[in-house]
C-alpha cells in the first residue's frame, strides 16, 4: 500500500495535501467518532456528573436510570462517568504507543532505505527478528519484564509497531532514493539530515498517515487487551479493558457495568478503522488514477 503514492520515474512530487472535492463519508464519520473520544479523554473528568471513584453504596448495581445514565457498579460508582473518563487511559496508551512506534520506525526506515548496504541489511534482519514474534506475545514479554503499567504498555506497543512501520518507510524511501530532486540536493551538497527530513520526508507523509491510522486501531486493541490482562492500566483507573475484566463476575447480574465500556471500545475501534479507510481513499486517491 505504501507503493501507491510513489510514482516511478520523473514525476515524483509531493502529494498535495489539499481538501478533496467530496469528503469520503467514512472519513467524516471516523473523524467525528475519534473527535468525540478525544474530547472525552481531554475534558472528561471535569464534565462528568459524578466522581469516578465516588461510592454510592445505597445505589449499588442499579440499572440505567435518569440519575445514573449507564447504571452503577457493585460499589455504586456511576458507570457513565467511568466510561467517559475511561477514554483517557486507552486514548493515551494508543496514541502515544502509535506515535512512539511511528517515530522509531520512521527513523530506522529512513536510515535503512537511504543508506542501504550493510546498515540496511543489519537493520532489516533485526526488524525481522522482532516481527517473528506474534505482536501480543512481544508486548507481553516487554510488559512482563518491565512491570504492568500504562507507561510500559506504551513502550511495548511502540516496540511492536516499530519494525512494521520501518518496513513501510524503508520501501517508500527506497523508491525516492534516486528521485531527481533527491539527486539534485545531493549535487548541491546538502547535508544528509536535510535531504532525509526536508526532501524525502514530505513525500512520505501520505503513506505514514495511512499506516499510522491502521496502527492506531491495532494500538487501541492492544492497549485494551493489555489492560484486560491486568498488564496495562491499573486499578482504580476507570479503564475500559480493566473494567471488563474486573467486573466479569457481575456480567449476568448487571450486564450494563461491562456492556457500556465494551461498547465504547468497539465504537472507538470502528471509528478509527473508518477514519483509516477514509484517509486511504483521500490520500491514496492518486493510485487509482494512475491505474
Amino acid at each position: 500500500m505504501a507503493d501507491g503514492v510513489l510514482v516511478a520515474g520523473t514525476d515524483v512530487v509531493a502529494v498535495p495535501l489539499r481538501a478533496p472535492r467530496h469528503w469520503p463519508l467514512t472519513l467524516l464519520v471516523g473523524g467525528g467518532v475519534l473527535g468525540v473520544f478525544a474530547l472525552m479523554a481531554l475534558v472528561g473528568p471535569w464534565v462528568v456528573p459524578y466522581d469516578v471513584e465516588a461510592f454510592h453504596r445505597q445505589a449499588a448495581l442499579k440499572p440505567p436510570s435518569a440519575s445514573f445514565w449507564f447504571g452503577t457498579d457493585r460499589y455504586g460508582r456511576d458507570v457513565f462517568s467511568r466510561v467517559v473518563v475511561g477514554a483517557r487511559t486507552t486514548m493515551a496508551m494508543a496514541v502515544s504507543g502509535t506515535l512512539l512506534g511511528l517515530t522509531a520506525g520512521l527513523l530506522i526506515g529512513l536510515a535503512s532505505g537511504y543508506r542501504g548496504g550493510r546498515l540496511d541489511e543489519a537493520l532489516m534482519r533485526l526488524m525481522d527478528i522482532f516481527m517473528s514474534f506474534p505482536s501480543l506475545l512481544l508486548a507481553l514479554l516487554v510488559v512482563a519484564i518491565l512491570g504492568g503499567n500504562v507507561v510500559n504498555a506504551v513502550l511495548s506497543i511502540g516496540i511492536v509497531f516499530m519494525p512494521r512501520v520501518a518496513r513501510v518507510v524503508r520501501s517508500a524511501t527506497l523508491g525516492l532514493r534516486h528521485a531527481p530532486f533527491v539527486e539534485a540536493a545531493q549535487v548541491r551538497g546538502e547535508r544528509t539530515g536535510y535531504i532525509l527530513f526536508r526532501e524525502i520526508l514530505p513525500n512520505l507523509w501520505p503513506p505514514i498517515i495511512v499506516e499510522g491510522c491502521i496502527r492506531m486501531s491495532y494500538a487501541v486493541l492492544l492497549s485494551v487487551s493489555l489492560s484486560y490482562l491486568g498488564l496495562g492500566a491499573q486499578p482504580p483507573a476507570p479503564d475500559w479493558g480493566l473494567t471488563v475484566s474486573k467486573e466479569r463476575a457481575f456480567l449476568v447480574q448487571a450486564p450494563w457495568v461491562v456492556l457500556f465500556p465494551a461498547g465504547a471500545i468497539v465504537t472507538l475501534v470502528v471509528g478509527v478503522n473508518l477514519l483509516g479507510d477514509g484517509l486511504r481513499e483521500w490520500l491514496m486517491a492518486r493510485k487509482s488514477v494512475d491505474e
Binding site: 522482532f130 517473528s132 506475545l137 507481553l140 516487554v142 518491565l146 490482562l229 479493558g241 471488563v244 470502528v270
Partner: protein, 317 residues
Amino acid sequence: MNLTGYILRRLGLLLVTLLAISLLISGILQMLPGDAAEQILGAWAERSGQTLGAMRERLGLSRPWHEQYLGWLAGVVRGDFGKSLALDAPIGPILAQRLGYSLRLAIPALLLAVGLSLVLGVIAATRRNGVVDHAITVFTLAGVSIPAFVLGSLLILVFAGWLRWLPSSSALVEGHGIPFWAKVLTLPVATLTVESLAYITRTTRSSMIEVLKTPYVRTAVLKGMPRRAVLFKHALRNGLLPTVTVIAFNFGWMLGGVVIVEQVFNYPGLGSLVLFAIEQRDLPLLQASMFFVASAYCVANLLADVLYAVLNPRIRY
C-alpha cells in the same frame, strides 16, 4: 530453484531465526531490574541474604550470561526446558500438554475461519455492491473492531448467562469424551473463529474481485461454463493466493487471540501458561513458554510459505 531446495533453505533460515529469538528472549530477561532471584523472592530478598544466594545458585545466576544462555540452549536441544519454579515440575511435559490443548482450540477455529471466509468472500465478490456484499462488509468491519475479550464476554453473557446452554468457564465442565469437549470448546472456538474470519474474508473478497475481472475468467464464462465451475475451479485458485498470505500473517494475530480467549474462558492452553508464568514471575517457565510459542509461530509461517509456493508455481524465492 526447485521446491525441495527452497524448503531446505527455508528450514536453514528457520534455525537461524529460532536462535535469534532465543537470544532476544534471553537478552530481554537480562534487562530485569535487579536479577531474577530478587524478582522471584520479592520482599523476602532484602531480609535474608542466604535465601537469595540459594535462589541464585538454583537459577544458575552466578554464572556469566553467555554461559547461562548456552546451558539453556544445550538443554533445549536435548528437549530439556528446565524446571518450573511455581509448579515445581519439568517444563517440557507441561508445554507438550498445553500445546495439545491449544491446538484443540486453534485448529478447529482456523479451519472454520478459512472455510467460512472463502465462502463469504466469494459471495461478497460475486454480488459486489449488492445487499449481501454490504452486509458482509459491515460484518467484517465489526469483526476486526471487536477485541476477542469483548466478543468472548458477550458470548458468555448470552449463551452461559441468559440461555444457560454452555458453561462460562472451561473449569466448570465435568465429564469426558465428545460431549465434554463440545461443551468446553464451542464458545472459545466461536470467538476465535470470528476474530480471524473478518481479515481473511476482506482479503478473499478483494482478490476475487480482481480475479473476476481478468480475461481468462471472462473466456470461461463466455464459453458457457457453469458459473460454479468458473468460480471455484478457475477464479478461486488464483484468488486464493493473497488469502494464503493473509492467513499466514494472521497466525500471529490469532496466537494473540488464543492468549486472550484462553484467559476469558479459563482454558488451560499455552496462552494461559504464559500469563501464569508472568503472574508468578516464574522466569524459567516464562522463557521456555515464550520461546515455544514464538517457534510455533515461525513453523506455522514456514508452512504457509511452502503452501504458497506449492499453490503458485511461478513463485520461487
